[in-house]
């Protein structure tokens, strides 16, 4: 089965990625560059989607629980927990699978088909480690910040949407977002985010690294990378939820 072939080859690939970096000074420089490229460059999209998700969740909840027996602060509470539990990790992860995943796959795929990877190997450099480890480390390090930003912006988005439409009184919303707060939800989200960052960076690099042919194949490697990362994120979301919250 093809799936088993890919799992086997991916495992070997990840083992190669964890090879010792050739030069630590070079490695550190690469990490800084990747934090900028993968992390800082993603702040914009995270801000936008988080704001709108928070706003929409708030309004949907407001319109759905239009019954006097349910207190209005439930809306703030629902927005907060939706962001904390699911949106800021999983949805942000899926969006970044598209942005970062295709970026990594096409960059590494281009290097493969233009023989730049061979050029590294011929010098005796572990190309998988040289190219992928800095991206992986940078992305896993930076994603907690993106997740936290997403939580803050999402909750703020809900507040603004609730106030502007007049659906949720601000005092109720602010009470709601503090109500029955469980710090572990944040930890849970950060763990998920870091696992997703590992999945996105290594799975996408895997497809790029094993591309053969030309520009066309790099394009399809990039598509496959996004699809695979997304499916793996959904799968691990389920697994991690069972492990951490059950």
């Amino acid at each position: 089965m093809k799936v088993f072939f890919h799992i086997g080859r991916y495992t070997l690939f990840v083992k190669k990625v964890f090879g010792r970096p050739e030069k630590h000074t070079v490695f550190l420089k690469q990490i800084v560059r990747e934090i900028d490229k993968l992390g800082i460059d993603s702040v914009g999209i995270v801000l936008i989607i988080s704001f709108f998700m928070g706003a929409v969740v708030t309004l949907q909840t407001a319109y759905n629980i239009d019954m006097p027996i349910i207190p209005r602060y439930t809306i703030g509470f629902a927005t907060r927990d939706s962001m904390l539990l699911e949106f800021s990790s999983t949805i942000v992860g899926l969006i970044l699978a598209g942005k970062v995943g295709s970026n990594i796959a096409s960059e590494i795929g281009t290097m493969r088909v233009s023989e730049q990877i061979d050029a590294l190997e011929i010098m005796g450099i572990n190309s998988a480690s040289y190219l992928v480890l800095p991206k992986m480390v940078a992305f896993v390090l930076i994603i907690p910040f993106l997740v936290i930003i997403s939580m803050g912006v999402g909750i703020t988005g809900g507040y603004i949407a609730g106030s502007v439409t007049g659906e949720v009184p601000s005092a109720d919303y602010i009470y709601g977002i503090q109500y029955s707060f469980q710090p572990f939800f944040v930890v849970y989200s950060l763990i998920k985010g870091m696992v997703f960052a590992f999945i996105i960076s290594t799975a996408s690099a895997y497809w790029g690294y094993h591309a053969r042919g030309g520009a066309l194949e790099v394009g399809s490697a990039s598509t496959t990378a996004v699809v695979t990362s997304s499916i793996l994120i959904l799968l691990f979301n389920l697994i991690l939820t069972q492990l951490l919250l059950a």
Partner: protein, 251 residues
């Protein structure tokens, strides 16, 4: 000197090299010629370990490449320079950074030492005022020069060139060919060049091997090649009108 003994390479079920035995001599430009798809690139990449051979042995000046452990192979890699068909320059780095890259990664030299060596190599390939440019900002011929400069940065003993003049105009092709030839003699390297260009064969071929569908069909010198009696090789050589003329005149 590099020796191959019955090198066979197949990908899954596809047999590409069907038992190549030959010797590539030191201090000479050894040519591998053959049509597109005959297995030249696969042979070159098998020699340097970018492909693992299916069977057969490769010796670098008597040292068995197959039996080398990972450490020894890595050490040997630093004696190898390779010029890839599409130059394979790192496109996010400037010309200077490309040439300095092997020095950055594999030596502990100071920046001054490295810069001096980079400029020495760029001078050697006659490339001036391009240090800060990106590969995409210079011509194909210049990219080839940068790739040669990068390949010789660590003073290799073995130089591998995969179709060094593909995509270049005839004049630039000759310049690149001669550069490879000069460097080979200057540093007494074992150089192996893949080509399907008869102009290169007559220009710089000191020892020539012709492969056809993964088999060695002929080897010899450029003086012998035009008199050879081998159907496939004659097809290959005299595909060019120019060489048909040469033969008619010599009869």
């Amino acid at each position: 000197m590099i020796e191959t003994v019955d090198v066979i390479k197949s990908f899954n079920d596809k047999l590409v090299l069907k038992g190549i035995s030959t010797v590539f001599e030191k201090g000479r430009t050894n040519l591998i010629i053959g049509q597109s798809g005959s297995g030249k690139t696969v042979l070159l990449k098998s020699l340097v370990g970018l492909h693992d051979v299916t069977s057969g042995e490769i010796f670098y000046d008597g040292r068995s490449f197959n039996k080398m452990g990972r450490k020894d192979r890595k050490a040997l890699r630093q004696e190898i320079g390779m010029l890839f068909q599409g130059s394979a320059l790192f496109d996010s780095m400037t010309v200077e950074e490309n040439v300095r890259f092997p020095l950055d990664m594999l030596t502990n030299q100071s920046l001054e030492e490295k810069t001096a060596r980079v400029n020495e190599c760029l001078d050697r390939v006659k490339l001036e005022n391009a240090n800060r440019k990106l590969p995409s900002e210079v011509s194909g011929g210049m990219q080839k020069r940068v790739a040669i400069a990068r390949a010789i940065a660590l003073n290799p003993q073995y130089l591998f060139c995969d179709e060094p003049n593909s995509g270049l105009d005839p004049r630039t092709s000759i310049v690149i060919d001669e550069l490879i030839h000069e460097i080979t003699h200057e540093f007494n390297m074992t150089t192996i060049v893949n080509t399907h260009d008869m102009n290169s064969v007559m220009g710089i071929g000191e020892k020539i091997m012709f492969i056809y569908e993964g088999e060695k069909h002929w080897e010899g010198t450029k003086d012998e090649i035009v008199h050879v009696q081998n159907e496939q090789l004659e097809d290959f050589i005299f595909a060019s009108k120019l060489f048909q003329k040469v033969r008619e005149n010599s009869k």
